[in-house]
Protein backbone atom coordinates (compact mmCIF):
# COMPACT_ATOMS: atom_id res chain seq x y z
CA UNK A 1 0.00 0.00 0.00
CA UNK A 2 1.17 3.53 -0.67
CA UNK A 3 0.01 7.10 -0.55
CA UNK A 4 -0.15 8.43 -4.09
CA UNK A 5 -0.59 12.07 -5.07
CA UNK A 6 -1.73 13.05 -8.52
CA UNK A 7 -3.86 15.58 -10.33
CA UNK A 8 -7.18 14.39 -11.71
CA UNK A 9 -9.27 16.54 -14.02
CA UNK A 10 -7.70 19.68 -12.60
CA UNK A 11 -7.84 18.80 -8.88
CA UNK A 12 -5.09 17.47 -6.65
CA UNK A 13 -5.88 14.08 -5.16
CA UNK A 14 -4.10 11.88 -2.66
CA UNK A 15 -5.22 8.33 -2.06
CA UNK A 16 -3.89 5.44 -0.03
CA UNK A 17 -4.11 2.28 -2.09
CA UNK A 18 -2.32 -0.68 -3.67
CA UNK A 19 0.08 0.77 -6.31
CA UNK A 20 -0.33 -2.32 -8.48
CA UNK A 21 -3.94 -1.46 -9.20
CA UNK A 22 -4.63 -0.39 -12.73
CA UNK A 23 -5.27 3.31 -13.30
CA UNK A 24 -8.53 2.26 -15.00
CA UNK A 25 -9.84 0.59 -11.82
CA UNK A 26 -8.91 3.55 -9.62
CA UNK A 27 -10.73 5.94 -11.96
CA UNK A 28 -13.86 3.84 -12.25
CA UNK A 29 -14.13 2.38 -8.73
CA UNK A 30 -12.69 5.13 -6.51
CA UNK A 31 -13.71 8.21 -8.48
CA UNK A 32 -16.80 6.92 -10.30
CA UNK A 33 -15.40 8.12 -13.63
CA UNK A 34 -16.95 5.62 -16.03
CA UNK A 35 -16.05 7.36 -19.31
CA UNK A 36 -12.89 5.22 -19.66
CA UNK A 37 -14.14 1.69 -20.36
CA UNK A 38 -12.60 -1.74 -20.25
CA UNK A 39 -12.70 -3.26 -23.70
CA UNK A 40 -9.89 -5.76 -24.22
CA UNK A 41 -8.07 -5.13 -20.94
CA UNK A 42 -4.70 -5.59 -22.62
CA UNK A 43 -3.90 -2.34 -24.38
CA UNK A 44 -5.17 -3.20 -27.83
CA UNK A 45 -8.53 -1.40 -28.14
CA UNK A 46 -8.13 2.07 -26.60
CA UNK A 47 -11.58 2.16 -24.94
CA UNK A 48 -9.88 2.92 -21.60
CA UNK A 49 -7.79 5.79 -22.99
CA UNK A 50 -7.09 8.84 -20.82
CA UNK A 51 -4.58 11.68 -21.04
CA UNK A 52 -1.48 11.45 -18.85
CA UNK A 53 0.44 14.74 -18.94
CA UNK A 54 -1.46 15.57 -22.12
CA UNK A 55 -0.65 12.33 -23.95
CA UNK A 56 -2.92 9.37 -24.61
CA UNK A 57 -2.29 6.22 -22.51
CA UNK A 58 -4.28 3.03 -22.00
CA UNK A 59 -5.43 3.20 -18.37
CA UNK A 60 -5.80 -0.62 -18.33
CA UNK A 61 -2.05 -1.03 -18.66
CA UNK A 62 -0.80 1.78 -16.42
CA UNK A 63 -0.02 0.68 -12.85
CA UNK A 64 -1.20 3.30 -10.36
CA UNK A 65 2.40 3.56 -9.06
CA UNK A 66 3.32 5.25 -12.35
CA UNK A 67 0.77 8.03 -11.83
CA UNK A 68 2.64 9.76 -8.97
CA UNK A 69 2.71 13.53 -9.61
CA UNK A 70 1.19 13.08 -13.04
CA UNK A 71 -1.81 14.93 -14.41
CA UNK A 72 -4.64 12.65 -15.54
CA UNK A 73 -7.53 13.92 -17.62
CA UNK A 74 -10.45 11.64 -18.40
CA UNK A 75 -13.19 12.31 -20.93
CA UNK A 76 -15.23 13.77 -18.03
CA UNK A 77 -12.59 16.43 -17.36
CA UNK A 78 -11.85 17.01 -21.02
CA UNK A 79 -15.56 17.58 -21.76
CA UNK A 80 -15.34 20.93 -19.93
CA UNK A 81 -12.99 22.39 -22.53
CA UNK A 82 -13.48 24.31 -25.75
CA UNK A 83 -11.38 21.77 -27.64
CA UNK A 84 -13.84 19.08 -26.57
CA UNK A 85 -16.76 21.11 -27.96
CA UNK A 86 -15.04 21.33 -31.34
CA UNK A 87 -14.23 17.59 -31.43
CA UNK A 88 -17.72 16.63 -30.25
CA UNK A 89 -19.40 18.75 -32.94
CA UNK A 90 -17.04 17.31 -35.56
CA UNK A 91 -17.89 13.72 -34.55
CA UNK A 92 -21.60 14.59 -34.72
CA UNK A 93 -21.27 16.28 -38.09
CA UNK A 94 -19.27 13.44 -39.66
CA UNK A 95 -21.40 10.69 -38.10
CA UNK A 96 -18.35 9.32 -36.29
CA UNK A 97 -20.41 7.88 -33.42
CA UNK A 98 -22.67 4.85 -33.54
CA UNK A 99 -22.85 2.62 -30.45
CA UNK A 100 -20.57 5.01 -28.57
CA UNK A 101 -18.44 2.52 -26.63
CA UNK A 102 -15.20 3.54 -28.35
CA UNK A 103 -16.07 7.24 -28.48
CA UNK A 104 -14.46 8.48 -25.23
CA UNK A 105 -11.21 6.81 -26.32
CA UNK A 106 -11.50 8.14 -29.87
CA UNK A 107 -11.97 11.67 -28.56
CA UNK A 108 -8.99 11.33 -26.22
CA UNK A 109 -6.91 10.01 -29.16
CA UNK A 110 -8.02 12.96 -31.30
CA UNK A 111 -7.03 15.44 -28.58
CA UNK A 112 -3.64 13.75 -28.06
CA UNK A 113 -2.98 13.83 -31.80
CA UNK A 114 -4.06 17.44 -32.41
CA UNK A 115 -2.18 18.60 -29.33
CA UNK A 116 1.05 17.34 -30.90
CA UNK A 117 0.15 17.98 -34.53
CA UNK A 118 -2.65 20.51 -35.19
CA UNK A 119 -2.69 19.86 -38.97
CA UNK A 120 -2.30 16.11 -39.44
CA UNK A 121 -2.29 14.40 -42.85
CA UNK A 122 -4.60 11.44 -43.50
CA UNK A 123 -1.73 9.07 -42.73
CA UNK A 124 -0.92 10.88 -39.48
CA UNK A 125 -4.59 10.70 -38.44
CA UNK A 126 -4.56 6.94 -39.06
CA UNK A 127 -1.42 6.57 -36.95
CA UNK A 128 -2.95 8.79 -34.24
CA UNK A 129 -6.08 6.62 -34.03
CA UNK A 130 -4.30 3.32 -34.66
CA UNK A 131 -4.62 2.09 -31.08
CA UNK A 132 -8.39 2.60 -30.94
CA UNK A 133 -10.79 0.00 -32.26
CA UNK A 134 -14.30 0.82 -33.48
CA UNK A 135 -16.61 -1.98 -34.59
CA UNK A 136 -19.39 0.21 -35.99
CA UNK A 137 -18.25 3.07 -38.17
CA UNK A 138 -15.60 1.49 -40.38
CA UNK A 139 -13.25 4.33 -39.31
CA UNK A 140 -13.69 6.57 -42.36
CA UNK A 141 -16.32 8.67 -40.59
CA UNK A 142 -14.04 9.08 -37.58
CA UNK A 143 -11.09 10.10 -39.76
CA UNK A 144 -13.41 12.62 -41.38
CA UNK A 145 -14.39 13.90 -37.92
CA UNK A 146 -10.74 14.50 -37.00
CA UNK A 147 -10.24 16.48 -40.21
CA UNK A 148 -13.29 18.63 -39.45
CA UNK A 149 -12.08 19.19 -35.88
CA UNK A 150 -8.62 20.26 -37.08
CA UNK A 151 -10.20 22.73 -39.49
CA UNK A 152 -12.94 24.11 -37.23
CA UNK A 153 -10.67 24.30 -34.22
CA UNK A 154 -7.83 26.09 -35.95
CA UNK A 155 -5.86 28.10 -33.40
CA UNK A 156 -7.12 26.02 -30.43
CA UNK A 157 -4.24 23.54 -30.67
Amino acid sequence: MAKIKFKLNGEFQEIYTNPSRRLLDVLRDDFNLTGPKEGCGEGECGACAVLMNGEIVNSCSVPFANVINKEIITIEGFSKTKRYEVIKDAFAEAGGVQCGFCTPGMIIATESLLNKNPNPTDFEIKIGLSGNLCRCTGYNLIIEAVKIAAKEGEGLW
Binding site: P19, D25, G41, E42, A65, I127, S130, G131, N132
Partner: protein
Amino acid sequence: MVKSYIPLTLDECLKILNQNEVKIVAGGTDMLIQNRSHTSMPIGFKTDVLYISNIEELKKIYEDEEFVYIGSCCSLEDIMENELVPVLLRDTILEMGSPAIRHTATLAGNIGNASPAGDSLVPMYLLDTLVEVRSINNVRKVALKDFITGVRRIDLNMDELITKVIIPKISYSNGYFKKVGPRLSDAISKLSFAGLYSVSNGVLKDIRFAFGAVNVTVVRRRELEEKLIGKKISEVKEMIEEILKWFEEDIKPIDDQRSNKEYRKKISLKLLRSFIENIE
Protein backbone atom coordinates in the same frame (compact mmCIF):
# COMPACT_ATOMS: atom_id res chain seq x y z
CA MET B 1 0.13 -9.27 0.13
CA VAL B 2 3.14 -8.44 -2.01
CA LYS B 3 5.10 -5.29 -1.31
CA SER B 4 5.54 -2.44 -3.79
CA TYR B 5 8.57 -0.17 -3.92
CA ILE B 6 8.35 3.17 -5.74
CA PRO B 7 11.78 4.87 -5.64
CA LEU B 8 12.18 8.41 -6.99
CA THR B 9 15.97 8.28 -7.41
CA LEU B 10 18.41 5.77 -8.89
CA ASP B 11 20.39 5.51 -5.61
CA GLU B 12 17.26 4.63 -3.70
CA CYS B 13 16.32 2.12 -6.41
CA LEU B 14 19.71 0.33 -6.34
CA LYS B 15 19.53 0.08 -2.53
CA ILE B 16 16.13 -1.58 -2.76
CA LEU B 17 17.47 -4.01 -5.37
CA ASN B 18 20.44 -4.81 -3.15
CA GLN B 19 18.23 -5.79 -0.24
CA ASN B 20 15.14 -7.33 -1.83
CA GLU B 21 14.08 -9.82 -4.42
CA VAL B 22 11.70 -7.94 -6.69
CA LYS B 23 10.08 -7.92 -10.10
CA ILE B 24 11.01 -4.72 -11.99
CA VAL B 25 8.24 -2.81 -13.78
CA ALA B 26 8.87 0.20 -16.06
CA GLY B 27 5.93 1.26 -18.28
CA GLY B 28 3.91 -1.78 -17.31
CA THR B 29 2.41 -2.46 -20.75
CA ASP B 30 3.69 -6.05 -20.76
CA MET B 31 4.05 -6.75 -17.04
CA LEU B 32 0.49 -5.81 -16.12
CA ILE B 33 -0.95 -8.03 -18.82
CA GLN B 34 1.37 -10.93 -17.96
CA ASN B 35 0.44 -10.82 -14.29
CA ARG B 36 -3.32 -10.65 -14.41
CA SER B 37 -5.39 -13.79 -14.35
CA HIS B 38 -8.33 -12.54 -16.36
CA THR B 39 -9.84 -9.35 -17.79
CA SER B 40 -11.15 -7.12 -14.96
CA MET B 41 -9.28 -9.10 -12.27
CA PRO B 42 -6.76 -7.32 -10.03
CA ILE B 43 -3.13 -7.59 -11.05
CA GLY B 44 -1.69 -10.54 -9.13
CA PHE B 45 2.07 -10.16 -8.78
CA LYS B 46 3.47 -13.19 -6.98
CA THR B 47 6.64 -11.43 -5.84
CA ASP B 48 7.37 -7.94 -4.54
CA VAL B 49 7.38 -5.27 -7.23
CA LEU B 50 9.75 -2.39 -7.97
CA TYR B 51 8.23 0.44 -10.01
CA ILE B 52 11.00 2.41 -11.70
CA SER B 53 9.08 4.78 -13.95
CA ASN B 54 9.27 7.73 -11.53
CA ILE B 55 13.09 7.91 -11.69
CA GLU B 56 13.82 11.06 -13.71
CA GLU B 57 17.56 10.25 -14.02
CA LEU B 58 16.65 7.35 -16.29
CA LYS B 59 14.71 9.49 -18.77
CA LYS B 60 17.60 11.21 -20.59
CA ILE B 61 18.76 10.80 -24.17
CA TYR B 62 22.22 12.17 -25.08
CA GLU B 63 25.24 11.48 -27.26
CA ASP B 64 28.99 11.66 -27.44
CA GLU B 65 31.21 11.17 -30.50
CA GLU B 66 30.74 7.43 -30.68
CA PHE B 67 27.42 6.54 -29.06
CA VAL B 68 23.83 7.57 -28.39
CA TYR B 69 22.73 6.88 -24.82
CA ILE B 70 19.06 6.19 -24.06
CA GLY B 71 17.93 6.10 -20.44
CA SER B 72 16.04 2.95 -19.58
CA CYS B 73 12.84 4.78 -18.55
CA CYS B 74 12.51 6.86 -21.75
CA SER B 75 9.18 6.17 -23.40
CA LEU B 76 9.18 4.70 -26.90
CA GLU B 77 7.46 7.87 -28.15
CA ASP B 78 10.24 10.09 -26.72
CA ILE B 79 12.85 7.86 -28.36
CA MET B 80 10.96 7.86 -31.66
CA GLU B 81 10.81 11.65 -31.70
CA ASN B 82 14.44 12.24 -30.73
CA GLU B 83 16.71 13.13 -33.63
CA LEU B 84 19.80 11.73 -31.93
CA VAL B 85 18.36 8.23 -32.25
CA PRO B 86 19.24 6.29 -35.44
CA VAL B 87 16.47 6.49 -38.05
CA LEU B 88 16.32 2.69 -38.38
CA LEU B 89 15.31 2.38 -34.73
CA ARG B 90 12.88 5.32 -34.89
CA ASP B 91 11.17 3.79 -37.95
CA THR B 92 10.90 0.47 -36.14
CA ILE B 93 9.31 2.05 -33.07
CA LEU B 94 6.61 3.61 -35.26
CA GLU B 95 5.50 0.05 -36.04
CA MET B 96 5.36 -0.96 -32.36
CA GLY B 97 2.14 -0.77 -30.35
CA SER B 98 0.10 2.41 -30.78
CA PRO B 99 0.52 6.00 -29.54
CA ALA B 100 -1.03 5.02 -26.19
CA ILE B 101 1.42 2.12 -25.75
CA ARG B 102 4.40 4.13 -26.97
CA HIS B 103 3.75 6.88 -24.43
CA THR B 104 4.39 4.45 -21.57
CA ALA B 105 6.35 1.44 -22.91
CA THR B 106 10.17 1.53 -22.84
CA LEU B 107 13.04 0.18 -24.93
CA ALA B 108 14.69 -1.33 -21.85
CA GLY B 109 11.38 -3.05 -21.13
CA ASN B 110 11.41 -4.61 -24.59
CA ILE B 111 14.93 -5.88 -23.79
CA GLY B 112 14.04 -7.06 -20.28
CA ASN B 113 10.98 -8.87 -21.57
CA ALA B 114 13.25 -10.68 -24.10
CA SER B 115 10.39 -11.93 -26.21
CA PRO B 116 11.48 -13.66 -29.43
CA ALA B 117 9.01 -11.31 -31.14
CA GLY B 118 10.33 -8.08 -29.57
CA ASP B 119 10.44 -5.74 -32.57
CA SER B 120 13.01 -3.23 -31.32
CA LEU B 121 15.52 -6.00 -30.70
CA VAL B 122 16.00 -6.64 -34.43
CA PRO B 123 17.38 -3.19 -35.37
CA MET B 124 19.23 -3.01 -32.05
CA TYR B 125 21.06 -6.26 -32.88
CA LEU B 126 22.00 -4.77 -36.26
CA LEU B 127 23.37 -1.64 -34.63
CA ASP B 128 25.55 -3.65 -32.18
CA THR B 129 23.70 -2.15 -29.23
CA LEU B 130 25.09 -2.34 -25.69
CA VAL B 131 23.18 -2.47 -22.42
CA GLU B 132 24.40 -0.65 -19.31
CA VAL B 133 23.56 -2.51 -16.12
CA ARG B 134 24.04 -1.17 -12.60
CA SER B 135 23.98 -2.54 -9.11
CA ILE B 136 24.81 -0.68 -5.93
CA ASN B 137 28.50 -1.64 -6.27
CA ASN B 138 29.04 -2.11 -9.94
CA VAL B 139 28.42 -0.84 -13.49
CA ARG B 140 28.89 -3.05 -16.52
CA LYS B 141 28.25 -2.84 -20.24
CA VAL B 142 27.19 -5.91 -22.15
CA ALA B 143 26.50 -6.46 -25.84
CA LEU B 144 22.75 -6.87 -26.28
CA LYS B 145 23.30 -10.14 -28.18
CA ASP B 146 25.06 -11.57 -25.10
CA PHE B 147 22.65 -9.98 -22.63
CA ILE B 148 19.66 -11.85 -24.08
CA THR B 149 20.33 -15.51 -23.35
CA GLY B 150 17.08 -17.16 -24.46
CA VAL B 151 13.31 -16.92 -24.57
CA ARG B 152 12.46 -14.37 -21.84
CA ARG B 153 15.91 -14.90 -20.30
CA ILE B 154 18.46 -12.16 -19.72
CA ASP B 155 21.84 -11.92 -18.03
CA LEU B 156 20.65 -9.74 -15.12
CA ASN B 157 21.39 -10.47 -11.48
CA MET B 158 18.74 -9.94 -8.82
CA ASP B 159 20.48 -6.77 -7.56
CA GLU B 160 20.92 -5.22 -11.01
CA LEU B 161 18.94 -2.77 -13.13
CA ILE B 162 19.17 -1.90 -16.84
CA THR B 163 20.04 1.80 -16.75
CA LYS B 164 20.93 2.66 -20.36
CA VAL B 165 20.70 1.40 -23.88
CA ILE B 166 23.84 2.43 -25.77
CA ILE B 167 23.84 2.57 -29.56
CA PRO B 168 27.03 3.01 -31.63
CA LYS B 169 26.72 5.69 -34.28
CA ILE B 170 27.31 4.20 -37.70
CA SER B 171 26.68 5.58 -41.15
CA TYR B 172 25.07 3.53 -43.89
CA SER B 173 23.59 4.13 -47.35
CA ASN B 174 20.27 2.41 -46.84
CA GLY B 175 18.42 0.43 -44.21
CA TYR B 176 14.95 -0.62 -43.18
CA PHE B 177 12.83 -2.68 -40.81
CA LYS B 178 9.99 -4.81 -42.10
CA LYS B 179 7.32 -6.24 -39.84
CA VAL B 180 4.83 -8.91 -40.86
CA GLY B 181 1.76 -8.78 -38.63
CA PRO B 182 -2.02 -9.00 -38.94
CA ARG B 183 -2.71 -5.36 -38.15
CA LEU B 184 -0.76 -2.13 -38.67
CA SER B 185 -0.68 -1.27 -34.95
CA ASP B 186 -0.85 -3.18 -31.67
CA ALA B 187 0.16 -6.37 -33.45
CA ILE B 188 2.73 -8.85 -32.22
CA SER B 189 4.92 -9.77 -35.18
CA LYS B 190 4.54 -13.05 -37.01
CA LEU B 191 8.09 -12.34 -38.11
CA SER B 192 10.29 -9.35 -38.79
CA PHE B 193 13.40 -8.44 -40.74
CA ALA B 194 15.90 -5.60 -40.67
CA GLY B 195 18.71 -4.89 -43.06
CA LEU B 196 21.18 -2.14 -43.78
CA TYR B 197 24.16 -1.68 -46.05
CA SER B 198 26.80 0.78 -47.08
CA VAL B 199 28.05 1.01 -50.65
CA SER B 200 30.96 2.92 -52.14
CA ASN B 201 31.85 2.74 -55.86
CA GLY B 202 29.69 -0.32 -56.36
CA VAL B 203 31.43 -2.22 -53.54
CA LEU B 204 29.79 -3.25 -50.26
CA LYS B 205 31.55 -1.56 -47.35
CA ASP B 206 29.16 -3.00 -44.79
CA ILE B 207 26.08 -5.17 -44.79
CA ARG B 208 23.97 -6.31 -41.86
CA PHE B 209 20.69 -8.18 -41.64
CA ALA B 210 18.70 -9.94 -38.97
CA PHE B 211 15.44 -11.80 -38.43
CA GLY B 212 12.95 -11.59 -35.56
CA ALA B 213 10.45 -14.16 -34.24
CA VAL B 214 12.03 -17.09 -36.08
CA ASN B 215 14.24 -18.49 -33.32
CA VAL B 216 14.59 -18.13 -29.54
CA THR B 217 16.03 -14.68 -30.12
CA VAL B 218 17.09 -12.45 -33.01
CA VAL B 219 19.03 -14.28 -35.74
CA ARG B 220 22.07 -12.38 -36.98
CA ARG B 221 25.33 -13.91 -38.22
CA ARG B 222 28.12 -11.36 -38.46
CA GLU B 223 30.66 -13.89 -39.79
CA LEU B 224 28.40 -14.55 -42.79
CA GLU B 225 27.82 -10.84 -43.39
CA GLU B 226 31.61 -10.43 -43.46
CA LYS B 227 31.85 -12.85 -46.38
CA LEU B 228 29.93 -10.28 -48.44
CA ILE B 229 31.82 -7.17 -47.39
CA GLY B 230 34.34 -6.02 -50.01
CA LYS B 231 32.45 -7.69 -52.85
CA LYS B 232 30.84 -5.89 -55.78
CA ILE B 233 27.06 -5.54 -55.61
CA SER B 234 26.70 -7.66 -58.77
CA GLU B 235 28.77 -10.47 -57.22
CA VAL B 236 26.64 -10.46 -54.08
CA LYS B 237 23.44 -10.62 -56.12
CA GLU B 238 24.77 -13.65 -57.97
CA MET B 239 25.32 -15.38 -54.61
CA ILE B 240 21.67 -15.03 -53.59
CA GLU B 241 20.79 -18.76 -53.61
CA GLU B 242 23.89 -19.54 -51.54
CA ILE B 243 23.10 -16.73 -49.06
CA LEU B 244 19.56 -18.03 -48.55
CA LYS B 245 21.01 -21.48 -47.79
CA TRP B 246 23.20 -20.02 -45.03
CA PHE B 247 20.05 -19.48 -42.97
CA GLU B 248 18.49 -22.89 -43.57
CA GLU B 249 19.28 -23.96 -39.99
CA ASP B 250 19.13 -20.67 -38.11
CA ILE B 251 15.61 -19.82 -39.22
CA LYS B 252 13.67 -22.39 -37.24
CA PRO B 253 10.36 -20.81 -36.26
CA ILE B 254 7.53 -22.42 -34.33
CA ASP B 255 3.82 -22.87 -34.89
CA ASP B 256 1.69 -20.73 -32.56
CA GLN B 257 -1.56 -18.77 -32.54
CA ARG B 258 -0.03 -16.00 -34.66
CA SER B 259 1.44 -17.99 -37.53
CA ASN B 260 3.04 -21.28 -38.53
CA LYS B 261 6.61 -22.33 -39.12
CA GLU B 262 6.31 -22.85 -42.88
CA TYR B 263 4.93 -19.35 -43.47
CA ARG B 264 7.44 -17.73 -41.14
CA LYS B 265 10.39 -19.40 -42.80
CA LYS B 266 9.22 -18.80 -46.36
CA ILE B 267 8.51 -15.11 -45.82
CA SER B 268 11.74 -14.52 -43.86
CA LEU B 269 13.78 -15.87 -46.76
CA LYS B 270 11.73 -13.83 -49.25
CA LEU B 271 12.46 -10.67 -47.27
CA LEU B 272 16.18 -11.51 -47.31
CA ARG B 273 16.02 -12.15 -51.06
CA SER B 274 14.26 -8.84 -51.66
CA PHE B 275 16.81 -7.02 -49.47
CA ILE B 276 19.79 -8.46 -51.42
CA GLU B 277 18.17 -7.99 -54.83
CA ASN B 278 17.43 -4.33 -54.12
CA ILE B 279 20.91 -3.29 -53.03
CA GLU B 280 21.96 -0.33 -55.14
